[in-house]
Point group: C2
Chain length 166, copies 2
Amino acid sequence: MLVTKYPSSKMRLLAIDPALRKSGFAILEKEGRKIRALAHGVIRNHTELSLTQCLLEIHRQTDQLIAQYLPECCAVESVIFVQNSRTAVTLGAARGSALLAAAQHGLSIYEYPPRRVKQAVVGRGAAQKAQVGFMVRALLGALAIGLTHLQMEDSIITRPSATRSL
Amino acid sequence: MLVTKYPSSKMRLLAIDPALRKSGFAILEKEGRKIRALAHGVIRNHTELSLTQCLLEIHRQTDQLIAQYLPECCAVESVIFVQNSRTAVTLGAARGSALLAAAQHGLSIYEYPPRRVKQAVVGRGAAQKAQVGFMVRALLGALAIGLTHLQMEDSIITRPSATRSL
């Protein structure tokens, strides 16, 4: 018998859009075709905090979110371009701290290219930034990433090629 | 009375040169002007391991090293240039996992630019790569970083400007 944390028709997801100072997060639940946002917000780190204090905080709060909401999987956006090495290394450290917490809880981790996150929200990949801004507006980046994953769940046949487990 | 883990004349350091597949590490101890390497090696991650499995392993092994040797501080090289964003983000995640373990143990973390690590080993910053290769040869990158920190300890007056706590 397959034992799951909650009925198998439900799926719970942590979507995260990590950055050193402001990491967006969303806990989404899907039941049939209905999607609910159970929680969403931002992990904020004040500018006085050192890099390592920020990493501690990102890890601690991600860990807490997972312990509280028990998601089965985690979705992040892949990083295509960052303006310079130092920024990319810092972003990587923030991202690594969040993913580490997810991995320590045994969550499956899925990564989606920015183009696909746009597609999931506005319906086509070539959308302009302004258009995404309009469509998403009040949604955090993390909500968009979460919606990407949940839309993928609908088209399960295309999933293996469309997503990539980190 | 100031209570320390071991006599205050001794100083113990974890030096780490993180990368996703091969992270060099060294535990160095300094007593007076004498430096001993208590341990050094490489945290290896097989190519079959996913990014998050690698992060788990880097964090777990760094945590174990600190628990075993109880260093007071941690030294890393700063990252100046990485060829592309994706590589830099991955390197940042590996680096973040090691630094997170150090921060969770309350270690002070110091970062040294590559030029200073070269200087500590060959005596001048403009050394060619080949020269560093010759001088360091059997030393791991981590040993070089550790020596950098311990040489700084000698010139304590210059430390605040010469090093930077992350």
